[in-house]
């Protein structure tokens, strides 16, 4: 296939959003994370244990929390909604498929782009556009939430005291990246 298209001159090239871009400010680094498998999972309380078993981690049921195991992270987004991210190359949608309990698992792997915001100025960088209190006491490591950054919706996960994962929709990724770039230089102190 690839050879044939090369011959005809029409080469299909996959170009991920923000490919190769990076911001390195004095106290913050913003990097594009590699592609991951993602699902939007909706399920009532009665299905949580069966889905947890299938996914190999305990789906969090408390607001603003997440659970992580073996390269897979489940983020509580709402009372019956989770974002499951798999960075180990396994498919969460395939794992949910045999579950008989009522649920909806939609593959949204390519809908989102993830950015890592790291460094001593990471919190200040995000606070430039996120109205939530991101101090370590209120938004500890493992805390996850859907919220706002500037004018767009993001999902935010704190992976370490000075590291965050920002998930945004692909079409907003350019805005988010530029916004964080501006904020990163302000947060240099």
């Amino acid at each position: 296939m690839a050879k044939a298209s090369t011959k005809s001159g029409a080469v299909a090239e996959r170009r991920p959003a923000l490919a190769g871009r990076e911001i390195a400010a004095a106290a913050v680094r913003v990097a594009v994370l590699p592609p991951a498998e993602r699902i939007s999972l909706r399920a009532p309380a009665g299905s949580v244990s069966a889905l947890s078993k299938a996914l190999g981690l305990t789906l969090p049921t408390k607001p603003k929390t997440s659970a992580s195991k073996g390269g897979r992270t489940a983020l509580w987004l709402g009372p019956d909604e989770w974002l499951v991210i798999d960075e180990a190359g396994k498919s969460p949608v395939a794992d949910c498929a045999p579950v008989k309990a009522l649920h909806s698992a939609v593959d949204i792997s390519h809908r989102n782009v993830a950015l890592a915001v790291t460094g001593s100025g990471a919190e200040a960088t995000l606070s430039a556009g996120c109205p939530q209190d991101l101090s370590l006491a209120v938004f500890p490591v493992g805390a996850a939430t859907r919220t706002i950054l500037g004018k767009v919706e993001i999902v935010l996960l704190r992976t370490a005291p000075d590291a965050f994962r920002v998930e945004c929709w692909r079409s907003f990724s350019d805005y988010v990246f530029e916004f964080l770039g501006e904020a990163a230089h302000d947060a240099a102190a």
Binding site: P63, G78, E81, P131, Q132, I148
Partner: protein, 117 residues
């Protein structure tokens, strides 16, 4: 920034994450075809629009995405309490400004009261 307590997230969160969704406790008839034009007009168009305490639907659209209900004072723009969708209309606040000063705790602790729909 105004902070609004989401009863599902169990936390006060910034207003930017929320969206107003009109008056609460407007009941849609289960036999809409049988409703007279006048009653339908009232259900569909007429809202109380009070100066003072209003019961509203709000949505935590950029958070847990849930609809919930709130009691708000349209004069002070203050949220007096919020409660989950489907819970009965609370009758907690009777003109707080005029009589005794409103208890500050009333806003922080939502309490559902069963029985009054």
């Amino acid at each position: 920034m105004l902070l609004i307590r989401c009863p599902y997230c169990e936390e006060e969160l910034p207003e930017l994450e929320f969206r107003n969704a009109g008056e609460a406790h407007v009941v849609r008839s289960s036999h809409l075809a049988d409703v007279s034009d006048q009653d339908f007009e009232e259900f569909f168009f007429i809202r109380t629009n009070p100066k003072g305490i209003i019961y509203e639907r709000w949505r935590h659209i950029h958070g847990c995405a849930r609809f919930f209900n709130a009691v708000r004072d349209t004069v002070s723009d203050k949220f007096l309490m919020t409660y989950k969708a489907g819970e009965p209309k609370p009758l907690l606040v009777s003109e707080p400004a005029k009589t005794a000063p409103a208890k500050p705790k009333a806003a922080a602790k939502p309490r559902s009261r069963k029985g009054d729909a």
